[in-house]
């Protein structure tokens, strides 16, 4: 594209994090979508490092050294690339190019608007319909005698950042709903997040009330009354303000604030003390400094971890989630949750409570539904929080990352209750920042509709589901399905997530993986089951029972593809990802290409020539041998 000034630089060194490992010379390529570093090692193997431009968080030129001009690239996936150029000019050019490529200005420049995972319009439409929030409401048992699905917001007139369908108490009149919306920050009125069938208790969410120091609103009070009345099992509702009390009080001066217990009948008000996005952003910054320390002592590391405050924040989110789940299942009480705008902390806490309460959300598909419901449809500002576009850096914050980490902390403590494994969470995290699929682009449903996202981009979920065998947790016990999770929130259960924040420092990870071993043991059985269902489906198609989506006969053949046989390497196919080099057109880039990191090219003949000229030649990929890794530090 017209963007990049430079496309290829030779004799670039990729400095290793571990000084003992010798770093070789290689060639750097900049395509329309990726930064690719190709290292030719002496024994004729190629190592390729692919970094999606959207994953680049910052590029920094470091002071000149005797050995060359260093460039430090920090990624949103917590990968660090330390490149060393021989010529200052090259360094400057790459620096300039990357600055532009990594910070698109317009939404249309995002990868998702170029990317086509070989699907037609029917696939596209089906992909977007695959996860449906409305279906989840029916799963919870809506509508019922207390709650109904309302279309009052179908034109986003009551609240522009809410979804078009809302779960509302049946006995709340239109006047109460609209009145309450006017009394809430940005019109984010109290609506249903989750309905707990067994206890009839509801989890509701909203933004802070515009109560100021003295204001009150009869409709809002009636709204809370209606929520309370929808649950006959408990005479009161909890109103949980997830902010620290001090922050909430400061907001009162600005005409916002929190509910006055005297004005609302039968509410129990609680603060939870989760810090705001700025505190979280700074905390992550400090955590990442700890992660990138060069050979720290145990004390340096633990002190750094403590000073970052990161785990303290994770625990505060978890504590709040546990509080909600306990209120719902133990006290059978409905809960209304808010923070300031009700799209960050509220999303974290509600979705976490859902996971604790409902085993469905602990499955691979259930987590998709949950993210779609609590985060995407309720207007978590993904574009702003992830910094997809070149916008205000103060809007960026790892709120969603924290949610994923809370789920991971739960899975560490309760290893048998999730259908998915750690890689699923990390893959979702990578995809959120990759903008390869449209799901996490935009800040709310209305915005997505306005840019016609569903017509121009594809949905991530079908792709993840196709690869779900990689994300399975072999220890998942269906028998535990019905239980409400009761994790311990003692501080010692909160661990540093090395697999996320030091993901690319392979030397730090266990050298053998129990997960891989168990997955490969269970793989055969699963593959058998899958072939079975696939064959049955094909039979049904052949019989004319099912409509024939494009080329069903190919599907079993694909299942025998190399990536399926090696569950050790998540998402390794990257067919034709070299195409953009010539024509700047990314349509041919394979799914998941952005995260193919440090692949060991098995084909010594695949030189840079192939990279620049061949259009559909897949980059050979070989899974790393565990034996090599064992010797890695030697």
């Amino acid at each position: 594209m017209e963007h990049h000034l430079i496309r290829r630089v030779e004799y670039v060194k990729l400095l290793n994090t571990y000084p003992e490992k010798k770093s070789a010379l290689g060639t750097l390529y900049l395509t329309a979508t990726h930064l690719i570093y190709v290292e030719q090692t002496n024994n004729n193997t190629r190592t390729e490092t692919w970094v999606l431009h959207h994953h680049i968080m910052s590029v920094e030129k470091l002071p000149l050294t005797a050995s060359g001009c260093p460039l430090l690239i920090c990624c949103k996936t917590f990968q660090l690339l330390h490149l060393l150029f021989q010529r200052e000019r090259d360094c400057q050019d790459v620096f300039q190019s990357l600055l532009r490529l990594s910070q698109p200005v317009k939404e249309e420049e995002l990868y998702a608007f170029l990317y086509n995972p070989h699907q037609n319009e029917v696939d596209r439409r089906q992909g977007w319909e695959f996860i449906s929030v409305a279906n989840d409401f029916s799963r919870m048992g809506l509508s019922n005698e207390y709650w109904e699905i309302s279309h009052l917001n179908k034109n986003y007139e009551i609240c522009s950042t809410y979804p078009s369908i809302l779960g509302l108490p049946k006995n709340a009149s239109v006047a109460v709903v609209t009145g309450s919306a006017k009394f809430r920050s940005r019109g984010r009125l109290p609506v249903l997040s989750y309905y707990h069938k067994d206890t009839k208790a509801a989890l509701c969410r909203c933004s802070q009330p515009l109560s100021g120091l003295t204001s009150r609103c009869v409709e809002d009070e009636q709204m809370l009354q209606a929520i309370s009345q929808a649950n006959s099992n408990c005479p009161f509702i909890y109103v949980v303000d997830t902010r620290p009390k001090l922050n909430a009080m400061a907001n009162r001066a600005a005409g916002k604030g929190y509910e006055n217990e005297d004005n609302y009948s039968n509410i129990r008000f609680q603060f939870q003390g989760i810090e705001n996005i700025h505190v979280m952003r700074n905390s992550l910054q400090k955590l990442l400094e700890v992660c990138s320390m060069k050979s720290p002592s145990m004390s340096d590391y633990l002190t750094g971890l403590e000073n970052s405050g990161w785990l303290r924040h994770i625990k505060s989110v978890m504590d709040a989630g546990v509080f909600l789940a306990k209120a719902v299942c133990d006290e059978r009480a409905s809960v209304l949750v808010h923070c300031s705008d009700g799209w960050d902390r509220t999303a974290q806490v509600c979705s976490l409570a859902c996971i604790l309460l409902d085993p469905y959300y602990r499955t691979i598909k259930g987590l998709m539904v949950l993210i779609e419901k609590e985060w995407i449809s309720f207007g978590h500002k993904f574009s702003h929080r992830c910094g997809h576009l070149d916008t205000d850096p103060k809007e960026v914050s790892p709120v969603f990352t924290q949610f994923l980490e809370c789920v991971w902390q739960l899975s560490e403590q309760l290893p048998c209750v999730f259908e998915f494994n750690e890689r699923y969470l990390i893959e979702i995290h990578n995809q959120v920042y990759a903008c390869q699929y449209g799901n996490f682009i935009g800040n709310c449903q209305k915005e997505r509709l306005d840019v016609r996202l569903h017509e121009k981009t594809f949905s991530l979920w079908p792709y993840l589901l196709k690869n779900q065998h990689l994300y399975r947790n072999p220890l998942y016990r269906r028998s535990l399905e019905s239980t409400v999770l009761r994790p311990s929130t003692l501080p010692l259960h909160f661990k540093f997530w090395c697999g996320m924040y030091n993901h690319y420092d392979r030397g730090m990870h266990p050298k053998q993986s129990v997960l891989d071993q168990l997955l490969s043991l269970t793989q055969k059985q699963v593959e058998g089951e899958r072939t079975m269902t696939e064959l049955q489906r094909q039979l049904a198609v052949a019989d004319g029972v099912l409509p024939d989506p494009s080329g069903p006969i190919n599907t079993p053949a694909e299942q025998d593809g190399p990536s399926e046989k090696t569950p050790t390497a998540p998402v390794v196919q990257s067919n034709g990802s070299c195409a953009p080099l010539i024509n700047g057109d990314a349509e041919e880039a394979g799914p998941g290409a952005e995260k193919c990191n440090e692949k060991e090219g098995a084909d010594p003949g695949a030189t840079e020539h192939d990279l620049t000229s061949s259009e559909d030649k897949p980059v050979s990929v070989e899974t790393e041998h565990s034996k090599e890794e064992e010797q890695e530090s030697s």
Binding site: C291, P296, S297, M298, S299, Y301, L302, T303, L305, E306, G309, L311, R312, K315, D319, Q413, L414, P415, C416, P474, L475, R477, S488, L490, P491, L492, H493, F494, K495, F496, C498, N502, D505, G507, M508, H509, P510, K511, Q512, V514, Q517, L518, L521, T522, K524, Q525, G528, T531, M532, L535, Q536, Q538, L539, A542, K627, E630, Q631, E632, S633, S634
Partner: protein
């Protein structure tokens, strides 16, 4: 028997027992010479809790009205509470426990009375001996020999009767070298690497003293170890400064000028009291009910336990680097050569030697490198994390070893044949046991007390008749390579299996372990179609529908 004189009240009825994560129980409490027995006699189904008195590290008494509460804190980190009606009974029970849990005389301890029906006292004791190790290690035969100069323990009281020495050094020279080393612990062979024949030696510090004394025979001995090759490494487990200071008290280090072919590397390791206090602080931190993450992390850091784990694994890695990668022999020592020296040399072997990663191999390693090599178990493990007694010689170096082995297992979950459960069992047995294995401080003491004649061997019993499934790693896949653990702080973790052993967390982990076992078993059943006809036929059954479907498709 005089032990019974300590028992003033043998039985108390209506005692309430409280354990973590269990409902309170009411029942009868008995104190015997070696045990505390609680039995809950509800109808026929009775439940019993039997605790070795030696397992009790500390007790706390509290009066509540006319009854008393005793909190029992065990060396395996379990904490129990007993509510005893009657103040007098409570005090009597407490004083009996206090007296009987701290017996000093070895022959009064329970292993001398433990006589299970399935074990007999006749027959060989232990798994291996120096001679057997020599016989198994063909690489040694050419240049090394077994010396029995210490058969009456006169040369070195803490060494076993037989040691492996270079052929070209005769016993007279060894005796002189022994005089030059603290406690007579002259350099002996600890391990010979199967790949390149390089060896790990261990000893105590040389007694060079302030006057820089030297000992020709000691120098010759070490010269013979490297046998003309360029270089050997001495890994001194003290900082250079500490080693210098040791000269003031008669100790010292191998000077470059006299040991010209040996290169000395210093690595600081904490020892004794400092490590014991780390354990106490860590266990305290783990039971802190406070809900502040910062406070937890600060306590974890302040305990320094993970720093000790870090140092031990780093230095073991250094030894492995010398032996495996650089192809040099290594001598490891600190001061006395009975603690950190054994820790580092045995960890290095676990990393290097596939044979030491099997259950039998690992137990043999512990037997050779800890029990026979004279780690003073009785002194080091007299008390654990809860005791208020003044610290004497206590130091949880063996626990530190088990923690390091756990860290290796966590990073190489397929490489060890044994499971975490075996490590936990050992962590328990080392402080209180039915077996004689961890009694006394040396082979000499064990001989004198008649341990081998009058007690059973833990290691033998673990392996006989078949090792229990729970001690095996279901995912074990032997590898010949060195398993080099990462020592990045991010790679090392708190050993939750041990330190959170009595929490709900342990139950969750147990579920996961069961699940792993069931997956592996299921897989074995499927993978072995020709084992029985039964499995074969079911195998066929599952295949048929696939084939039918295939046929139909082809026709279509």
């Amino acid at each position: 028997m005089e032990l019974s004189e300590h028992i003033k009240t043998a039985n108390v009825e209506d005692v309430t027992l409280r354990r973590p994560f269990h409902p309170a129980l009411r029942g009868t409490l008995c104190v015997t010479s070696h045990h505390l027995l609680f039995s809950d006699r509800k109808d026929e189904a009775s439940w019993q809790l039997l605790i070795l008195l030696k397992n009790i590290d500390a007790i706390e008494k509290r009066a509540v009205g006319s009854s008393g509460t005793i909190t029992i804190k065990c060396k395996d980190l379990l904490v129990l509470q007993l509510e005893i009606p009657g103040m007098e009974e409570c005090l009597n029970i407490a004083s009996s426990i206090e007296a009987l849990s701290s017996l000093e005389s070895v022959t009064e301890m329970y292993p001398f009375f433990y006589r299970p029906s399935h074990l007999t006292l006749n027959g060989p004791w232990g798994l291996s001996s120096t001679e057997q190790y020599y016989k198994q290690t063909e690489r040694l035969w050419d240049r090394w020999r077994v010396s029995t100069l210490n058969s009456d323990y006169s040369v070195c009281p803490s060494y076993p009767s037989a040691v492996i020495m270079p052929r070209e050094v005769d016993d007279d020279k060894l005796i002189r070298s022994a005089r030059f080393r603290q406690g007579g612990r002259f350099p002996v062979l600890s391990y010979c690497h199967h790949r390149n024949g390089m060896v790990i030696m261990r000893s105590s510090q040389p007694l060079t003293g302030a006057n820089k004394k030297r000992c020709k025979e000691d120098e010759l001995l070490l010269q013979a170890v490297i046998d003309g090759s360029e270089l050997g490494y001495i890994i001194d487990l003290r900082s250079a400064q500490q080693a210098q200071q040791a000269r003031m008290t008669g100790g010292g280090f191998e000077s470059k000028s006299f040991y010209s072919h040996w290169k000395r590397i210093h690595r600081h390791h904490e020892r004794g009291k400092v490590v014991q206090e780390s354990l106490i602080k860590l266990v305290e931190a783990c039971s802190d009910p406070s809900h502040s993450v910062d406070r937890w992390l600060s306590k974890l850091e302040n305990s320094k336990w993970l720093s000790h784990v870090h140092s031990a694994l780093s230095t073991a890695g250094l030894v492995v680097e010398c032996v495996e990668r650089d192809g040099h022999s290594v001598l490891v020592h600190g001061s006395e050569g009975t603690d950190n020296t054994l820790l580092v040399s045995s960890l290095a072997q676990l990393i290097l030697d596939p044979a030491s990663r099997t259950v039998t191999g690992f137990l043999c390693l512990l037997e050779r490198e800890w029990i026979q090599a004279g780690h003073p178990f009785q002194q080091r493990c007299a008390h654990s994390a809860y005791s208020h007694a003044r610290l004497k010689q206590e130091c949880p170096i063996f626990l530190l070893l088990l923690d390091c082995v756990w860290q290796v297992w966590r990073q190489f979950p397929l490489a060890l044949e044994f499971s975490e459960a075996l490590l936990l069992r050992l962590a328990q047995e080392v402080y209180a046991s039915n077996y004689g294995t961890f009694l006394c401080n040396s082979e000499q003491e064990r001989c004198a007390a008649g341990v081998k004649e009058n007690t059973h061997c833990l290691f033998q019993s673990l392996l006989r008749p078949d090792i229990e499934e729970q001690y095996l790693n279901p995912l074990y896949e032997p590898t010949d390579l060195a398993i080099w653990p990462s020592v990045h702080p991010q790679s090392l973790q708190l050993w939750t299996g041990l330190f959170l052993r009595w929490t709900e967390y342990a139950q969750n982990m147990e579920e996961a372990r069961e699940e792993v076992w069931s997956i592996v078993k299921e897989h074995h059943e499927q993978a072995g179609p020709d084992r029985t006809n039964n499995t074969l036929s079911t195998h066929c059954d599952t295949l048929t529908p696939f084939e039918n479907l295939m046929d139909e498709l082809t026709i279509l």
